[in-house]
Symmetry: D2
Subunit: 297 residues, 4 copies
């Protein structure tokens, strides 16, 4: 199968790493961090920063850099960074690009979001392992398997949701999954499951949130007569359709478009919005700040 040219995240030698930081804002953070990295021998490739408020706010930073032999030196460098991180009250993490993040995709009956993710994954645009595709229907089994991926059918019977979720969690734990992507998975996850993967479950909602939260958003959009429809990729929280938004996009529609047209047009939006959100998460471009996200693109 053909492979596309690599996305930005892959333009790395083996020595590429990232550092993600958030801490109370104060002068000198950039100087301290960049000096530390320079001293360790890093060449900074890209650096993004954002402060919610320079005087009292939270400071966010994402650095991507090359550092010779980073994979063997990772723990040593993290230890060396610890005193500085502590003195600035940082929440931080240090990432190498390998091993890749491990993603489980949940789908139901509709294929468009799943296929988009799998295509981009195969073409190299999503830099991840996909150990698992889980569905409450059997219909997408062939699609997953045509990409060489294990497909796990876990039916969700009414009144039996808990049992199904236990099996899901078991599978996810076995596969040591870092991220769950709900690719038009038409079931609501329990708080227990959501709490186990905080900031690590991405859902695609088929409307421009917060408009048309809940069920049947295209029907709602048609009834309201909007001239633009959209889709929203967001982190899942226990508050339905209200988690931090990662990405949204929209498309014009007209009075001529009925509900089926809206669904058809919406599918194109959904799949590209979800694919972008997943790519950004995998590249650690998304930081959560309360119920908002900082996206360093």
């Amino acid at each position: 199968m053909p492979t596309g040219t690599g996305p930005k995240a892959q333009r790395s030698g083996r020595d590429r790493a990232r550092m993600l930081i958030s801490c109370p804002d104060r002068p000198g953070i950039v100087a301290a961090v960049s000096d530390f990295l320079f001293t360790q021998g890093a060449n900074i490739i890209s650096s993004d920063q954002y402060s919610s408020d320079p005087s009292q706010g939270t400071f966010f930073m994402r650095l991507e850099f090359d550092l010779p032999a980073i994979r063997t030196r990772k723990e040593e460098i993290a230890r060396a960074f610890e005193p500085l991180a502590r003195s600035l009250a940082m929440t931080w993490r240090f990432e190498t690009l390998r091993p890749r993040k491990r993603v489980a995709i949940f789908a139901s009956r509709e294929e468009h979001c799943l296929l988009e993710l799998l295509w981009r994954w195969r073409s190299g645009e999503l830099d991840a392992e996909i150990p698992l595709v889980i569905s409450n229907h059997e219909i997408l089994s062939e699609a997953a398997q045509s990409f060489g991926l294990p497909f796990v059918y876990i039916p969700v019977e009414p009144e039996q949701q808990q049992k199904a979720e236990e099996e899901q969690m078991h599978r996810l734990a076995d596969a040591t999954v870092d991220l769950i992507v709900l690719a038009r998975y038409m079931q609501i996850l329990s708080p227990a499951m959501v709490d186990r993967y905080p900031g690590r479950i991405i859902n695609i909602h088929h409307s421009f949130l917060p408009a048309f939260a809940g069920a049947k958003p295209y029907e709602q959009a048609y009834a309201r007569g909007v001239k633009i429809i959209g889709a929203t990729a967001h982190y899942v929280t226990t508050d339905l359709d209200a988690g931090p938004i990662i990405e949204q996009d929209v498309q014009r529609v007209t009075h001529r478009d009925n509900v089926d047209d809206l669904k058809r047009i919406g599918r194109q939006i959904e799949r590209s919005v979800l694919a972008r959100a997943v790519a950004w998460h995998l590249e650690s471009r998304v930081l959560i700040h309360g119920n908002r996200t900082v996206v360093f693109r």
Copy 2:
């Protein structure tokens, strides 16, 4: 002052007219209407039609045509059309391009929507008379007058809204106004006023409705962390921010945009969305169908 090239609606000789029709859908309407116009000597310039449902729905039609001496023959032709209209249970109207529709603009303190309308009006893009600019503040007086337009300052004191509205209605009646445009007019109109101008009051709401209806939409949008903001032009009904939507548009924003940035970006969306909605209304391109609009662009 320079005048721009004329918009579509003005590309008319003196013999240009329009016909707007809605009726229960059934076979033969297009044939009957176009045959009638042909018999009267009309040359159809453009024709748009839409059926909410070919079997049981409502049929909408907009025709633009040249008909020699239409202005003197208008009533005769309308009389001749009456039997056909009745037999098909039509709601219909027949319009010549002159005299122009008469528009009153309401504004408060912000100038951007008012100025956009006046600029497009002066350049010929809005084909209307503007007998009146009304405001509850004096601040935009100079702006209106620099376009040679009468500016009426009607303060709206708390508890005195009714008195203010009486004066507004008096002025509107005097000026025989066809359309009221709320160009960021920050007061809620009473049901009495709304009922007097059904389908003839256009408001610009500074959000992508139905998201963030009500007050302070940019503050709401910031708090929710949306990645796209928008504006909505809609007909005013007694149900606040819930009337039929005419036009919407949106713009991307990021985590870096604070509430003031959203307002600044939003102003550009608001003014162009409102200007387009007003232009389409003036060209009779907008038909109301329940709480939705049919827009023949």
Copy 3:
């Protein structure tokens, strides 16, 4: 495999048909045609018209209608229409939705355009038969076959283009193809081939034409430092990259995007632009007028 909800073109009973007309503009055409259809028992579902100039121009019309037993009555109705068509000097055709149009897809090494077409075809959005996928490389063979489609590998050796094209033409003739889609097929067709399928070969060019015609458009776009890139679907003529444009779309890029990024972003534009153009052609929404197109959407 799941099937999506049907697109507009398929919302037809078995009695759906279309009429496509172009002729010198003059008064009475709409009346004459709609009267004819009404007399035959048709219910017009949608009607679009356009005149390049009401006084001397060309008139274009597309009607979609339901007419009971149209498939058996097709020839009879066409005969009945002939006198009117002749009197108005019409170029016209009459189409039923079945049998479907037959499409051959040409591809080379890149899969994204081919897969997008096949996915939309499988989901019912492209209402066509695909008797043939032709490629000058073997690499996409598996992709085509996974959709159950015959894949024909016809290598194009340097200096042997004519021989390859003879085989292509032979295959196309055998399959009685109505439309050829060049889905990133990286070979130039000979004038002989182009002439055999006038207005029936659609190409996707990976730039916003007429900018960056010819080879390596993304490299050209990068060198010029544009802030927006695009893709263009057009009919192929013997004048390279200069045929009538059907559809274009664009996406923002920044100085951070290198040539590989432009290619990656561009792939998303290419596949959706090509898919829309092919859908519109299949629904007979595209009429060619000189080197421009009329697209009745």
Copy 4:
């Protein structure tokens, strides 16, 4: 007159400053610069960097920071930075937000770009002084003066361009202008004039460059039958319409839009594209790199 909420550039106390740097890329630049600023007492508000190639390329950096008493300490800090700048072979500059940059606007007969700039200037979105509006026609005199700005009418007679330009240059020198904005100024500047303001003349071209360079771009676009039109703001070089692009934007059009429609639609694109480009230049967000621009938004 009402003033809008302030744009990003104005969110400054009196102690806000910027540093713009370009130099050969090598490790340690970020650390050295941020350490220097920290030592001087600066609090970095925003920092953007870009490297055309981490190994051999050019490194660009823009920092915005608060530094107490910067206006009195400006020269002292610049002197202190000099050794570091020299050791890293930097091209650099150090800017305080006051005094504002001084902008001359050139216009001809069309008002839309001029008015857009003046509105945004009055609302505070363009943080500049405008000592001069120059035109080769008298028609916009009233517009400029209604904003309280000096309007200089310098006719450009055929064969007398040099004489006119001498007067322009004289006026520009008198007004110590930092930036010239060609707001649909329909004359070509001489190489002498262009050379005097390198990277400091911004033009709006009414097409999506490089498509339709030269005269009558809307006529060209219509003839080519494009489905999207655009506008391009670029720095003026002696190579006509080929200078570094700052910003572009586009809008969909259809076969129904004739040349006048394209001009009307295009005016809206032109004015917003030009206004954005000018704002970014004034905020020193645009760095020129060969024939491309780095835009730190």
